[in-house]
């Protein structure tokens, strides 16, 4: 029996200095308004009463005694279930700047104890590694009177890319003349909003993104497309003119496809493309799991499943056993669904085996592209070890694949798309164009758009990163209306528009000094360099110092 007086200690006892985030609270500024404790998503903080003994000792008058002072403060709980995640919502609502979390500079022991009941550390978000090789790629073939002097602000740039199989000119002309089938190709903005499902994302987030994408296309003239992720697409969206901006994803869980197939006869337009997901960079070889508490009535209807059940997407497609079979079966079936008018491409995790997949696609007449997702990609939920240590960085993986195509002389035929860590530290255009010059036809961005468009608080310092438990304080990844209604879809859309306008400007700022305005510099690797000899050698680009 542990009495009220005893202070128990067990192997997993933690104090606030063991936690990753330490709440700094200033009693002298606090107005006790209750907003911080009200907003805290983890119930990490509470109003604490503290008693302080103040001895009153007067040896000369031979008087002694103690008085007590009781004071209040907002304190953090130390049990792992309520650990502070550093989201900073408390600071956001505090009227007096009296409270904020700060990263613990010591080695927080909580990491060692995040395996309660034998359940290994699981979380959402991103890889907790802050460095990015892509940030080190610089554009250094500057046109100094040697090439057309381009002005990013003044000149017009052709910044779009092609998604779809581009036939060699002679073949194209032959087929054109003989009236044969010509593979569908879409002209799109090379920064694509990567797959995030309606389910992983809240309705307000998902629709906000789509609204922003529609605005980019219809008002700004930036042909942005977004991928749905697995989990389907709302029926009214499928029947809307905005479907053309959507890449529908099919993955191992096959969620939501009943509604998609049901809607085909009533579609006003074709989707931008179909993405077949075989793997995800953040957690290669690991499936997805939409936890039961995120399977709201809405999500259940959308995915065609019962409400409140766990929805596993297995790590692999259950009926596919080889590359040949996968490519044959799925690409063909999905191409056929829209009369071979829609590009269909697979998405795989970055892997040393990516080239095998690519070579298979090259031989497949219906394959439209290959998307490779590197280890720095994000996810709604995964084991920490999958996120942090499993996978392949995108740069060398993409580069190898591209150079392989070059060796075959097919680099202009089947576009490669790259993802995973684009904009990890905010340098979205630098990272994206770096990958494009390494050989990508475009990039997918997920975490970046969440941060930029909806104020996602997650970071590589393990800030927030609780997408997996449905308590997203910004309402991005929650299915709880009390949380997701915090997100105004109009504002998300506005930020999407602003983000893509800014990317467009930055692209020009990079491309103008390079003297490129008429086509995207795909594979223009002579324009880039890196200050790391080993990376330079591996990527076959210039070493600069």
């Amino acid at each position: 029996m542990v009495s009220i007086q005893s202070i128990p200690s067990n192997p997993s006892s933690l104090t606030h200095v063991d936690l990753q985030w330490i709440i700094n609270h200033r009693e002298d500024r606090c107005t006790l308004c209750g907003k911080c404790t009200s907003v805290c998503p983890k119930e990490s903080i509470y109003l604490a009463y503290r008693r302080q003994r103040m001895p009153k000792l007067d040896i000369q008058k031979n008087r002694r005694g103690s008085e007590y002072r009781v004071f209040t403060g907002v304190r953090q709980r130390t049990q792992p279930a309520n650990r502070c995640i550093g989201c900073g919502m408390c600071a956001q609502v505090c009227p007096n700047e009296a409270i904020a979390p700060a990263p613990n500079a010591n080695d927080p022991r909580v990491k060692l104890l995040s395996n309660d009941k034998g359940e290994a550390w699981k979380r959402g978000g991103r890889r907790n590694v802050r460095e990015s090789l892509l940030d080190r790629i610089m554009f250094n073939r500057i046109s100094m009177l040697t090439d057309p002097a381009l002005d990013a602000g003044r000149h017009e740039f052709q910044l779009n890319t092609l998604l779809g199989r581009v036939l060699p000119p002679d073949e194209y002309l032959r087929r054109k003349a003989s009236g044969e089938w010509i593979p569908p190709v879409r002209e799109i903005f090379p920064f694509v909003i990567g797959s995030m499902s309606f389910g992983a994302l809240s309705p307000n987030m998902w629709l906000g993104l789509l609204q922003g994408v529609a605005y980019c296309n219809e008002v700004l003239g930036i042909p942005v497309v977004m991928a749905t992720g697995e989990g389907g697409c709302p029926p009214w969206v499928l029947r809307s003119p905005y479907l053309k901006y959507i890449i529908l994803q099919i993955a191992s869980g096959y969620f939501g496809w009943d509604e998609i197939i049901r809607a085909i006869p009533e579609m006003q337009c074709d989707p931008a493309a179909i993405e077949i997901k075989y793997g995800q960079g953040a957690k290669p070889g690991d499936g997805g799991l939409l936890m039961w508490f995120k399977v709201s009535k809405l999500i259940a209807r959308l995915r065609g499943v019962p409400e409140g059940v766990d929805l596993p997407s297995p790590p692999v497609h259950q009926t596919l056993y080889s590359i040949e079979e996968s490519v044959m079966k799925m690409i063909q079936s999905l191409s056929m669904a829209w009369g071979f008018r829609v590009p269909v491409y697979p998405k795989i995790s970055g892997s040393t085996s990516a080239k095998s997949v690519l070579n298979n696609l090259v031989r497949n007449p219906y394959a439209s592209a290959l998307l490779i997702d590197g280890v720095d990609g994000g996810t709604g939920a995964a084991y920490n070890v999958s996120m942090d240590a499993t996978g392949h960085p995108i740069a060398s993986n993409l580069r190898e694949c591209y150079l392989d195509l070059v060796a075959q002389g097919r680099q202009n035929e089947i576009p490669l798309f790259a993802a995973g860590g684009v904009g990890k530290n905010g340098n979205v255009t630098q990272n994206g164009l770096g990958l494009i010059m390494l050989g990508a036809s475009g990039v997918h961005i997920g975490k970046y758009i969440m941060q930029s468009a909806s104020g996602c608080l997650g970071s590589e310092r393990n800030r927030c990163n609780v997408c997996n438990i449905g308590i997203c304080p910004k309402g991005i990844t929650s299915q709880n209306p009390k949380l997701y209604r915090r997100l105004d879809p109009d504002k998300v859309a506005e930020r999407v528009a602003e983000t893509f306008m800014a990317i467009r400007t930055e692209m020009r700022k990079v491309l103008a000094p390079l003297g490129r305005s008429q086509s995207l510099p795909i594979g223009m690797s002579d324009a880039i360099g890196i200050d790391d000899p080993a990376a330079a050698e591996r990527l076959k680009i210039k070493y600069i110092c």
Partner: protein, 783 residues
């Protein structure tokens, strides 16, 4: 001017040998000629940078250019210079011009007026690309002007910073687009009058299209004749004076630009005019009809809270109530004292036990206080003192007799409390006691040092005077009587305790006195004699009592031996040790002889008296077969359910016959059995004590300050009580609530009041929970 010839000097661009003179030499010739005349005719042959550097203090100069003009005609032209180019001109006419008037009586190619800051350029034809680019305007001077009779090429007026352009659209090179493709990119100042068709590709973020206002129109009309005269096209004056045909591209100010949304259409407008229309309503209307997705804030009240407070008053048990086997609600008693209801407080405890002074106040180790929350502040409530204060208080009122009768075999604490409870309920309780006094072992063996005789006597008297209780002394139970009792009474409660001492058959065991017998006789009128050296086998609390009695009866040294670490604790152990008793363990007894106790190792512990104190077992021979007995450790114990009911539905068993325990355990099981009987007589369902122990972490102890001395009266203790789980009516929640959501209201309930949180004000901050000293407010999930 004086000394200069007014006659024109002609400078030739070709030398006598027919060679073109370099731009450098030509410039030197022009400068030299300008020393002599202000009127020059330049027969140029493609020389560049002609017409500049003619200083105004020597001017004005009039230059007439014949022959093919080179690039940058009028480059860095000065005020007071007038250049007329009789034919077409090449690139960059008026480059960096700061004041010259330059007339080109033909077309000009690209870059007209590039970086010009002042002066005028007038073109009789059309111009190429990038006219009026980088054009400046220094506010101390007059704005630069570019007049074009025809049209302009692409990318006109880029980065124009203040120049005025006039494009008349007469005989335009491209009549469908007099301003060229994408004019005014980067324009930050100035404006362009134009007349004629365009492709509307002007930079929307830099200029806006307006119609000339009166002042602007006047400006144009004031200057138009001079332009037309200069290029000798006065015939067009009427044509160019139709106000409706003119428009202006006016630079947008930074302030205006800042007001524009970063895109050309506000998002709200896009949603209502484009997005919603495309869907014909909410895009989720089929999946989730009526789903409200409208934006909310971070701090919300009412239905939008994720948690809500709940006043869980009296829903969990205080540690005192929980751990007491009788579940005496000490916190309620203290609350009544705080409220000044002393009589009610006394009655409350006497409703639970007939022996508060003797048990709570004396022999009980007070399990209730082992986890008293007050220990988190200083020390527990002194419940023993509270118990003693009740010894002289009258018994509670009894209910009207029901006519039911219950026989209770054994008048120990278990039997007594069963009778006490039944009596209060109006049920006649008949106690059949073998001894000639009540109290069982409490009376028979507990030394008077630990159970003050006065207290005991007062409580026995109170018990004996209780209506509905009849005590039959000297009844030795056997099967016949037992069966008769079963027949005659509604229920029989077996409460005979354990009165068969355990023994161990080692050699000489017949020399060993049983502790039970020893203590009984020690407490009798004829106490036994003991040797100077005493060994007690079995070092539990009873062994300690034996040791104390042995000292009292003349022993000089007492050794308690045990085969394991002694189990003695608390007052008993302290008392024995205080008198000098020592403990030895592990000791296995080999034999007892006249010398003393011989251990298994062969050591002799000298003793004249050896007493064995390894427990007692029940004597149950009188029970009928219907009462199931289970054998544990060589002795039989009555098997009972939670209420104390045996396998015979008329027979209950309470106290040590179920399992050995403390006096308070016996009191508790007696009450439970009685309550169960009362319930079944009343036809009610009996429920065991079900309340969960309060989580002491929910209490806010910091509201209390440690006190140097604990209370010495019931009133002082009442003030110290934290009232775990029961509202103290302190109003702290009401006070701390930042939104004023909590209030107190009177309601008809046991408490008479309740605290409630107004949903429309509450933001679920949890301050009520965090502040409540009693751990009552909690925050519940609110889906």
């Amino acid at each position: 001017m004086s000394g200069k010839k007014q006659d024109a000097i002609t400078v030739k661009g070709i030398d006598n040998s027919g060679q073109r003179i370099s731009s450098k030499d030509f410039e030197e010739l022009v400068q030299a000629a300008a020393q002599d005349s202000n009127n020059l005719v330049l027969e140029a042959y493609g020389q560049h940078n002609v017409g500049g550097r003619l200083m105004p203090d020597k001017g004005p100069y009039s230059l007439r250019l014949t022959g093919p003009a080179g690039q940058r005609l009028g480059c860095m032209g000065q005020p007071g210079t007038k250049i007329v180019c009789e034919g077409p001109a090449s690139d960059d006419v008026g480059y960096l011009n700061i004041g010259a008037d330059i007339m080109v009586l033909g077309d000009a190619t690209n870059g007209v007026c590039n970086a010009m800051a002042q002066g005028r350029v007038m073109i009789k034809g059309s111009i190429g690309a990038r006219g009026l680019t980088m054009t400046k305007w220094n506010p101390d001077y007059v704005r630069p002007e570019l007049w074009v009779l025809g049209s302009v090429g692409d990318t006109f007026a880029e980065f124009n910073c203040g120049g005025i352009g006039v494009v008349c659209g007469i005989e335009a090179k491209n009549p469908d687009n007099v301003l060229g493709y994408r004019p005014c990119v980067g324009t930050v100042g100035g404006w362009v009058y134009y007349r004629g068709k365009t492709d509307d590709s002007y930079s929307r973020t830099n200029v806006k299209e307006i119609v000339p206002d009166d002042e602007q129109w006047q400006w144009l009309m004031d200057r138009m004749p001079e332009f037309l005269e200069s290029i000798d096209r006065m015939d067009l004056l009427e044509t160019l004076s139709v106000r409706d045909e003119w428009k202006i591209l006016m630079a947008i100010t930074p302030q205006e630009r800042a007001l524009m949304f970063s895109g050309p259409m506000p998002m709200a407008e896009f949603r209502t005019k484009v997005w919603d229309k495309a869907f014909g309503g909410d895009p989720l209307r089929d999946l989730a009809p009526g789903l409200d997705r409208s934006p909310i804030g971070l701090i919300e009240s009412g239905e939008l809270r994720r948690r809500r407070p709940y006043w869980a008053n009296h829903e969990s048990a205080a540690p005192c109530t929980f751990y007491c086997p009788v579940h005496i609600p000490t916190i309620d008693r203290l609350r009544l004292i705080r409220e000044g209801k002393l009589d009610d407080a006394y009655e409350l405890i006497l409703q639970h036990t007939p022996l508060p002074g003797s048990v709570c106040g004396a022999v009980c180790p007070n399990l209730c206080m082992e986890n008293c929350s007050r220990q988190g502040v200083d020390s527990s409530i002194d419940v023993a003192m509270l118990g003693r204060s009740v010894k002289d208080i009258a018994a509670p009122e009894t209910a009207k007799p029901t006519g039911n009768r219950v026989a209770i075999i054994g008048g120990g604490p278990g039997g007594m409390n069963a009778a006490w409870q039944l009596a209060q309920a109006g049920i006649e309780a008949h106690i059949f006691e073998k001894d000639d006094k009540l109290g069982g072992k409490l009376a028979q063996v507990i030394p008077w040092e630990r159970l003050p005789q006065a207290t005991w006597q007062a409580e026995i008297d109170r018990f004996m005077n209780m209506p509905n209780i009849k005590v039959h002394f000297g009844v030795t139970m056997d099967k016949e009587i037992f069966d008769e009792l079963k027949k005659d009474y509604d229920y029989v409660i077996v409460a005979v305790g354990t009165h068969e001492p355990r023994r161990i058959p080692f050699p000489g065991n017949e020399k060993v006195i049983a502790a039970l017998d020893f203590l009984k006789s020690a407490k009798s009128d004829k106490p036994p004699k003991v040797g100077k050296q005493v060994v007690i086998i079995g070092a539990g609390n009873v062994g300690c009592d034996v040791a104390c009695e042995a000292y009292k009866l003349g022993a000089e040294s007492v050794v308690l031996v045990d085969i394991q670490k002694p189990l003695a604790f608390g007052n008993e152990k302290a008392a024995a040790e205080g008198l000098g008793a020592t403990f030895r363990w592990p000791v296995m007894t080999k034999e007892v002889n006249d010398e003393g106790l011989v251990t298994a190792e062969g050591d002799l512990i000298p003793a004249q008296t050896v007493i064995i104190s390894i427990g007692d077992v029940p004597a149950l021979k009188f029970l009928s077969e219907t009462v199931e007995v289970i054998t544990v450790g060589g002795a039989g114990w009555v098997k009972t359910n939670e209420a104390g009911l045996t396998s015979d539905e008329k027979v209950y068993a309470v106290g040590d016959v179920e399992r050995p325990g403390l006096a308070t355990n016996a009191l508790g099981s007696g009450k439970k059995a009685a309550d169960s009987i009362i319930s079944s007589i009343r036809g009610e369902e009996w429920k065991p004590f079900e309340k969960k122990l309060i989580d002491q972490k929910t209490l806010t102890l910091e509201h209390y300050c440690p006190e140097p001395t604990v209370g010495d009266s019931p009133e002082a203790e009442a003030d110290r009580c934290l009232s775990c789980g029961k509202c103290k009516d302190c109003h702290l929640c009401e006070t701390i609530c930042p939104t004023g959501a909590i209030s107190r209201r009177e309601v008809p309930s046991d408490f008479g009041y309740e605290y409630i949180a107004d949903d429309n004000k509450c933001i679920a901050c949890g301050f009520c929970r965090d502040t409540c000293p009693c751990g009552i407010w909690m925050l519940q999930p609110f889906e």
